[in-house]
Subunit: 376 residues, 2 copies
């Protein structure tokens, strides 16, 4: 297909006028750096075979032509190097007509709140997930777009949560084990292992790198209470920013310490509660009142920090942001721990509540998602 | 011990004049938030039992006194809440006299270059590491402070690298497995599995979260070449900043995509090559010419990005920054993959070179380090 109307050179740029009237202006060094020839890229794995410092500083384009198939042939001097680009590659990769890839930014997520799920929280059946690529894709897309997914009717056998991770990616083992039991314990090292209610939080903010995916599998639930609560932390951050860009900025710019300590473990981090990328888009949130360590900021910033922190905590606890449901035996919730906060209501000492939890990471899940989508 | 000379109240601050003449001025809300009483903190695990929004907005300190043991007793109103702080806790935690904890920042590292190791690169014997807490501490401190450590005289048996991780933390399993073989392969999915030289790089910048620790264990080495090279990426970033603060800023402010793709895996990230914290201190670096994906930045930034990228690549490849050595059979190198870049020289097809590699994470290692240090 003919995509290009006209090619010209202007100083050290290649100007492309596209058939649809759009125009690109591409820097010679960028073109040379992205050379797709066998001498530049390994043919098996596509990896680049040279480094930025192998490109001559005095590089320039001597000539640009199109071959009989319409490929763009660029002759670089003084090294006398020929790069041939397909029109298609140039159109899909030129930096002035394409968005960069980003599967972590808030701008590529579907933000939600309570009334998004007025018709109930969607659940995917375990068999559909387990036996079908479409089922896996639904689970993965739900985690990427909504930040969570609930699988129902899974076997209520111990260790099931690890089997689910194995279908999607890899377990992140921590001091809590490959798998951890969430039930009432005597002398717990973590309040999660009591019957107390837990406010909305992300897990392990004291761990760097933080586990990016959490799973909770309900094996037994016969207590009063113990409901599960989820909050879209990216939506909470968006609301905070709308209500006070100063408070939002304060939380991105003033990092704090988190800490978890027991007999055998002493985990410490220094991280922001709201993390943004170079375009000021939210990519990670953290919130956990239980494990914030001593807040140590310059004295001059303490008051504004506490205003922002209170505002953030207040937004997170708004009812209209929360979805509340009972996780039933055989249900597994998977969520993006860099985005979705979870909570639980207190539960009775009568009856049993037994969940098994585990951590995994988004890289493995998104890799599988990319592969499955490319095969569709 | 008497640490405090005088206590006064000023608006919503507590003013402490310390015996050594220093002075603290602590915000009422910060004090209430850090209450150490059993009603505020779980006695077993120290976790905070309330949230920031449980603190009244109209909080104020009605009275401050010292009890017979010198503890500081603060009566908060209108909730009529008494917090008792030890003098020692206040001195060690007050935000105006203490530095925050940070084990990732460049400012808490010992930066190095080639001539730092004129007397040779230090190695710790496997038995000393394996059998002694002091040996483990040496390994862990070396990784924290220098970014790497070499263990010598380890058993040359397969899987040894995983046994070493087990003594320090947890393995990060990835698409490459729990353990990966570094040797020449037919049709490799990664250039690491050829006899090519590899320029200085960090591993897996296309993975988010990136593995923060890498281990390489030499089982066999009878080729010509195949030397190991290390570069302190934090030192390289410091030099870049000294030579051009503009170029440094460009790399922190313009994030790029990395990608790794084979038949079964498609890992994509969008991250900065130099990552700084809220105090503009370097906390992570990434560099890998092989796996940088299409560079997609606003057209107006492309030229300045390429200048900065070239400068960064050029600093990293300076001889005076590199230490070069042959990893011998039985030697295991452990390094902080968020700081130290590694490279290898090309090697002959004659002879055998077989390394086993694995990834782990800093959180587990630093936790053990904190625990072992606290017991000394």
């Amino acid at each position: 297909m003919k995509l290009i109307k006209k090619l010209t050179l202007e100083n050290d740029d290649l100007i492309i006028v596209w058939q649809d009237g759009k125009q690109s202006q591409l820097f010679s060094h960028w073109l040379r750096d992205h050379c797709q020839m066998p001498v530049s890229r390994n043919e098996n794995n596509g990896q680049r075979l040279f480094s930025i410092i192998d490109i001559r500083k005095d590089l320039y384009i001597e000539e640009v032509t199109q071959d009989s198939e319409g490929n763009v042939c660029i002759l670089f001097q003084p090294e006398n190097h020929l790069s041939v680009f397909s029109q298609d590659w140039l159109r899909k990769n030129c930096y002035d007509l394409n968005n960069h890839f980003d599967d972590r930014s808030e701008k590529n997520k579907k933000l939600w709140q309570k009334n998004t799920f007025n018709d109930g929280v969607p659940k995917i059946s375990y068999n559909y997930f387990h036996q079908n690529i479409e089922g896996k894709l639904q689970v993965l897309c739900s985690i990427r777009d909504m930040g969570f997914c609930i699988i129902k009717d899974a076997p209520t056998k111990e260790g099931q949560v690890l089997a689910v991770i194995k279908e999607l990616g890899f377990t992140r083992e921590t001091n809590y084990g490959k798998l951890f039991e969430v039930r009432t314990e005597v002398n717990p090292n973590n309040l999660a292992y009591t019957n107390m209610g837990l406010g909305s939080h992300t897990d392990n903010p004291y761990r760097d790198p933080v586990p990016t995916v959490q799973l909770l599998h309900c094996l037994e639930s016969s207590t009063e209470g113990g409901d599960s609560v989820l909050v879209d932390g990216f939506n909470a951050a968006k609301i905070l920013r709308q209500e006070s860009s100063d408070n939002f900025l304060t939380l991105t710019k003033n990092w704090i310490n988190f800490r978890f300590k027991d007999e055998e473990t002493d985990l410490r981090s220094r991280v922001p509660m709201i993390e943004v990328n170079d375009n000021n888009e939210v990519i990670k949130v953290r919130y956990n009142n239980r494990s914030i360590d001593t807040i140590n900021l310059p004295a001059v910033k303490i008051r504004s920090f506490y205003s922002a922190y209170r505002h953030w905590g207040e937004v997170i606890e708004r009812d209209q942001l929360k979805i509340t449901f009972q996780l039933l035996p055989g249900e597994i919730i998977l969520f993006d721990n860099t985005r979705v906060m979870h909570a639980r209501t207190a539960f009775s000492k009568k009856g049993k509540r037994h969940l098994q939890g585990a951590y995994a990471d988004l890289d493995g899940l998104y890799s599988l998602l990319n592969i499955l989508q490319s095969k569709q």
